[in-house]
Amino acid sequence: MGSSIPPSGAGQALYRTMVRIRAFENAAEAASQGGVSAYGQQAGGSAKVRGPLHLSTGQEAVPAGVCAHLRTSDYLTSTHRGHGHTLAKGADLTRMICELFGKATGFNGGKGGSMHIADFSVGMLGANGVVAAGLPIAVGAAHAQKILQKKGDITVCFFGDGAINRGPFLEALNWARVYDLPVLFVCEDNRWSATTASGPMTAGEGASVRAASMDIAATQVDGNDVFGVHETAARLVAEVRGGGGPRLLHALTYRVKGHVSVDVAAYRDPAELAAALETDPIARARGHLLAQGVSVATLDAIENAARDEVDTALAIADAAPWPEPGDAFTDVQTTGAGQWH
């Protein structure tokens, strides 16, 4: 590992962020089995997390390392695989579980679920069910920050390796450079586009090279090294905050789970997965923190606290009320509200 480990407290904070994301997603995964008809699985109706659940297991170092540098007033746009971004931006874990359960107490009042998880109050402007859809929204938010002279505030835009093959990727990067907007693009390159390997579907060298072709400085990092991501993101965020215009962080990571939680990903070479598990970002960070002198008990306490937090949240979500049927008719639009036919 070439990166420097931050001081003990900061290192533990990064570890805690990753561990909370992992605990959250493990619980969501368990609660989602039988929740969607796909990949040969049938929905049973009893699952607490229903519908497609896209897990970022193994990718936790990217949101943890990047979002550690963000303020509440910074904006963030996300993807369909957005639990980690949302937690790392500071959203309340309990309200996230409530939303995955479809409960009235969720961030979206049960109207969105996992694919639309969001907490606008901490600047997290939403996960998104459409690949690459967050990119134009992010440059718009950054453009508003520039127009409204919110000096120093930035927008961070997470997207996957599959998104770089959609037109909005090109349109948004060009836009960000043309107007020199305060936006940090973060490509989480997990090597898979749904159930198709991204490499054979992508011409050239991918996100970094495409960004460079539009005069946006791109930096590639080992996305499973949280301290490396943290160190590189510190520089890029500072440059963007300082008015340097857009930057792109290309984080190489790996999607440990299938496309959705019921996808066992049998189409993959088991050796590929085994190799990826060898570089699990949480295990690596744990090893480095131990080597730095942090005690086993301290790290175990962080993990236990995360599991306890999730268990408590699951119980709260279980007991929480469903939305009222009439809530299906609220927050559609103001003009003409009440006219449905």
């Binding site: 606008f120 459409v130 929204i137 453009h143 508003a144 037109g167 948004a172 559609v332």
Partner: protein, 323 residues
């Protein structure tokens, strides 16, 4: 006596004045799109960049997805953007950003955000411009929960409805007509027109005739012909297509017992079908629709004419409905 504020303006000048007034009143209003700094290809932004600067009247690349998507992001971050799509046909390149993002955002995120943007996308047949520059797609957007759909036919309505659209706080699909820009008329800049209210253009008891946008002109001509035959038509300009003015239309239908809806768009699955069905369900009146055949608009005059609905065809449809 109140100060007279009426002046004669073109349909495009009325739009410029509306945006100017809103930009003066609200620093959050911005404009973004291709060629807006030069005043827009129809003059519908003339002088605004010179008045308000390039940071609020923003020239953009030919990137419809980014224009619409950035509009969504700007709106979420506190601005009130006017999103210029040039023509409705090009707006199709920004459909995910309108349909999946702008229209869904407020509901999908449980009311955490609002997307107060006005997407201008002129529609209708643009003379001799053929199939990709001549579409009337308003029914697509009326079908979409979460948006307001406006289609003004006069300079006054373009002024007043554009201001209302910018003030309403919802995403608005604002469909001016590609060939009404030079139409001149009196504009009272104090006149407010609420969204969702139709305008009765002429009164009559024989038949209710509903239309919007440029098609109102052929309808008015047909009404003159019918009047000479002793047929008095209740002519209604819908103006806002969603929410549409059920009260005005249905009250007229209950009185006349006959409804003809005419639009420039293809008749099949057009918005006229929705109005006709609603009127028949609510009042039991006889209904008929008249729209374009389900063909792309052709280039040669003789082909293009097959997609146009003229006054003669409207009068004939009215007579048939009365027969």
């Amino acid at each position: 006596m109140a100060l007279m504020t009426t002046k004669e303006l073109s349909y495009s000048e009325a739009a410029v004045l509306a945006i100017q007034r809103e930009m003066e009143a609200d620093p959050r209003v911005v404009v973004l799109g291709e060629d807006v700094g030069r005043g827009g290809i129809f003059g519908q932004y003339k002088g605004l960049q010179q008045t308000f600067g390039a940071e609020r009247v923003i020239d953009t690349p030919i990137s419809e997805a980014a224009i619409m998507g950035a509009g969504v992001g700007m709106a979420l971050a506190g601005l009130r953007p006017v999103v210029e799509m040039r023509v409705v046909d090009f707006a199709l390149c920004g459909m995910d950003e309108l349909v999946n993002q702008a229209a869904k955002n407020r509901f999908m995120f449980g009311g955490q955000g609002r997307v107060p943007l006005v997407a201008r996308m002129p529609g209708g047949i643009w003379d001799a411009s053929a199939a990709q520059h001549s579409q009337s797609l308003e029914a697509w957007f009326v079908h979409l929960p979460g948006v307001v759909v406006v289609s003004p036919s006069t300079p006054q309505d373009n002024y007043s409805l554009l201001r209302a659209a910018l003030q309403c706080g919802d995403p608005v699909v604002y469909i001016e007509h590609k060939t009404l820009w030079g139409l001149r008329g009196e504009v009272d800049d104090d006149m407010a027109v609420p969204l969702g209210k139709a305008r009765r253009v002429r009164e009559g008891d024989a038949l209710t005739l509903v239309s919007w946008s440029k098609q109102m002109q052929a309808c008015a001509a047909a009404c003159d012909t019918l009047a000479a035959e002793g047929i008095a038509v209740d002519l209604i300009d819908l103006r806002t297509l969603w929410p549409w003015d059920r009260e005005t239309v249905l009250a007229s239908c209950a009185r006349t017992r006959r409804l003809l809806v005419v639009h420039e768009a293809v008749q099949v699955a057009g918005f006229g079908a929705e109005i006709a069905a609603s009127a028949a369900e609510a009042t039991g009146c006889r209904v008929a629709r008249l729209g374009a055949p389900r063909i792309p608009v052709g280039y040669a005059p003789v082909l293009e004419a097959e997609s146009r609905i003229g006054a003669d065809a409207i009068a004939a449809a009215a007579r048939k409905l009365l027969g």
